[in-house]
């Protein structure tokens, strides 16, 4: 279906933009689209801060066009719970040690004729 295809494309574009944005801030992206039966982790990245490294799991939501609903409002409580579980299983699989872990959300709004607008909300779950 062309509709589904374009929806997927919007999602991919949103993630690309989000990754680019994170890398511009000096983040190191470790993994993208880590699929599991429960769902998918969109981005896993190291945040290089003043106090050290933080492992951040990011959920990216992207919307194209003008609509009243902000993409971040589509992230429900259930979605955050899934993301927490996914993060735990990612840690188990990768045997990675981190002193700090955080869950973030990034909303991307694509308006035709304008640059994309990114909203990054930290520590959401």
């Amino acid at each position: 279906m062309p509709g589904t295809e374009s929806k997927k494309q919007v999602g991919v574009r949103g993630q690309d933009l989000a990754c680019a944005g994170l890398e511009r801030q000096g983040w190191q992206v470790l993994e993208r689209n880590w699929p599991r039966r429960l769902g998918e982790i969109d981005i896993v990245a190291w945040e290089v801060g003043e106090s050290g490294l933080t492992l951040v799991f990011c959920e990216v939501k992207c919307r194209s066009g003008l609509c009243i609903e902000h993409p971040l409002e589509a992230i429900t409580f259930a979605k955050m719970r899934t993301l927490r579980q996914l993060a735990a299983s990612w840690m188990r699989v990768h045997h990675l040690k981190a002193s700090a872990i955080r869950l973030d959300a990034i909303g991307v709004v694509l308006v035709p004729g304008q640059g994309p607008s990114l909203t990054h909300v930290g520590a959401v779950g």
Partner: protein, 518 residues
């Protein structure tokens, strides 16, 4: 991160309580929370406000937004908080200075396009704001006239969020087409020009109406169909004097709350309410699920409540009138609040003597059995009948009389209204300082202790001894006697006035007369 507050009003009955609307923009995933006991219409304000703000070219905060309506324990209902909610959010965002909202009350429902729609109860809400010391009201443009009826507070009418923002930023307001509302509540109080002279004959009944109007007495009309019971009842409000300012404000406030558009002026004529006999208890005394709304008796406050075909009403409806008839207020208990509405109305009941309508009519043939006639009369219960001052029987007109009466015009409402006004003046002077204004309202104690008793009270005593008159009935007769004396220009009622009053009170009550004697 940021917070701001705006003010609105919650109406509990006619009493307005100031509500503080706080908006807080905090960290977290974007969500809008609305707390402070909202009902469903108010809870949906989240969605309405969001669309309205976005469509007005303003930003809706992309973070955790908490809106609190305080006092949090008071249940709040209705859509009129929309404007205050939006103002608080925009102030928290820094669209205009939060100081601008100090001492200002905002009322209005929002359309999805950002236009401000009219609401119920602007007048009582404005009164409450003014009494609470607020200096400025922002209301829907169409209702600015209604709010301006309250003195001592600045009123600004706005038509849209764009205008609100411009106004609070101190800029000139852009012009917006005023909203056209379909099915807008229209003023029901178009001047009724019903003249008493239109009613042919029924001289005695007209005089009963004059007495009732002068002293605010309750009446029961009974007689066969087509003799002019309804016509006369409709003409009673025309005999009553204009409302004084305090009453006019109260009556207008009730009507505003009931959803009638006041069309920029106070209601100064006594209202008239004539609900159909299929009416429910809630529609008559007032009702509503969580928040109560005024019913027909409150819409007839300081005016006339006419129940045509009274025996056709559900008995429970008529009996629900008992308490307000005595107290002049109705208190409706709801799950969380008690609402009080004024209901000092003048009751007029009209009834046929039996289902076919011909019983006790000379020359007519009634087809109903005595049991049926009695049952029909009993539909108006004894306690309600006891609260009626004047029982007026109507007899059909003879053909020859009808011909004669059509030729000569009888007295007009204006002439009668002048006599009523004089009688009211006399009552007001006599009752000055007592808190009452008309004979119909004076308490029995005051009547017997502070006012001189008329001569010839034996007739009343006799009626009491025979069980024809209750203790309340004695007071009713005394009140009527005073009104008759006031209309005649006498200083105090005498033997004649008392006899007239007794006859008016007893009247002819088909179906119950026989039992009273026995």
């Amino acid at each position: 991160m940021a917070s701001a507050c705006a003010w609105s009003v919650a109406l509990v009955g006619l009493e307005g309580r100031i509500v503080e609307v706080e908006a807080d923009i905090g960290a977290g995933l974007p969500r809008t929370l609305l707390v402070g006991l909202p009902d469903s219409a108010l809870y949906q304000a989240r969605d309405r406000c969001k669309a309205a703000v976005s469509n007005s070219g303003q930003e809706w905060p992309i973070s955790l937004l908490t809106i609190n309506l305080s006092p949090a324990t008071l249940p709040k209902a209705g859509s009129h908080y929309d404007l205050a909610i939006v103002a608080a959010i925009l102030a928290a965002q820094g669209t205009f200075r939060a100081d601008e909202l100090r001492r200002t009350v905002l009322l209005g429902e929002l359309g999805l396009d950002g236009r401000v729609r009219p609401i119920r109860g602007v007048l009582p809400a404005t009164l409450a704001a003014q009494q609470a010391g607020f200096t400025r009201m922002i209301v829907p443009l169409r209702q600015a006239g209604e709010a301006k009826l309250v003195a001592g507070i600045d009123v600004f009418g706005i038509a849209s969020i764009t205008q609100l923002v411009a106004f609070l930023q101190g800029e000139p307001m852009p012009v917006v087409d005023p909203i056209e509302v379909m099915g807008d509540p229209v003023s029901r109080h178009a001047k009724r020009c019903l003249d008493l002279a239109d009613v042919v004959g029924q001289v005695e009944a007209k005089w009963a109406c004059e007495v009732a109007a002068a002293g605010r007495h309750h009446m029961l009309f009974h007689g066969p169909p087509g003799v002019g019971k309804t016509m006369l009842a409709e003409r009673v409000p025309g005999l009553l004097p204009d409302l004084v300012l305090h009453d006019a404000l109260e009556v207008s406030a009730v009507h505003s709350l009931a959803g009638f558009n006041l069309a920029d002026e106070l209601i100064t004529r006594p209202p008239y309410s004539d609900p159909h006999h299929s009416a429910s208890v809630a529609s008559i005394v007032g009702g509503g699920q969580r928040m109560a709304r005024p019913g027909a008796i409150s819409c007839a406050h300081k005016g006339v409540l006419f129940l045509d075909e009274a025996p056709e009403f559900q008995p429970a409806v008529i009996d629900a009138l008992r308490t307000p008839l005595e107290s002049g207020v109705i208190t409706l208990g709801r799950s969380e609040v008690h609402a009080r509405f004024p209901a000092r109305f003048q009751l007029i009941l009209a009834a046929n003597p039996c289902p076919c309508g011909q019983a006790a009519t000379p020359g007519a043939h009634c087809r109903c059995s005595p049991t049926v006639v009695r049952r029909y009369a009993e539909k108006i219960s004894g306690p309600v009948r006891d609260r009626i001052d004047i029982n007026q029987a109507f007899l059909p007109l003879r053909k020859t009389y009808l011909k004669k009466a059509t030729l000569q015009r009888s007295e007009s409402s204006t002439a009668v209204a002048i006599r009523v006004l004089e009688a009211r003046d006399r009552q007001r002077r006599r009752l000055a300082g007592s808190g009452w204004q008309t004979n119909g309202e004076v308490s029995g104690t005051y009547l017997r202790r502070h006012l001189p008793l008329p001569d010839g009270l034996q007739a009343v005593d006799e009626a009491v001894d025979r069980g024809r008159l209750s203790a309340r009935g004695v007071d009713k007769v005394l009140r009527l006697a005073w009104t008759v004396a006031d209309l005649a220009g006498r200083d105090r009622p005498g033997r004649d006035e008392l006899a007239v009053a007794l006859a008016m009170r007893r009247g002819e009550q088909p179906g119950t007369v026989r039992r009273e004697v026995g």
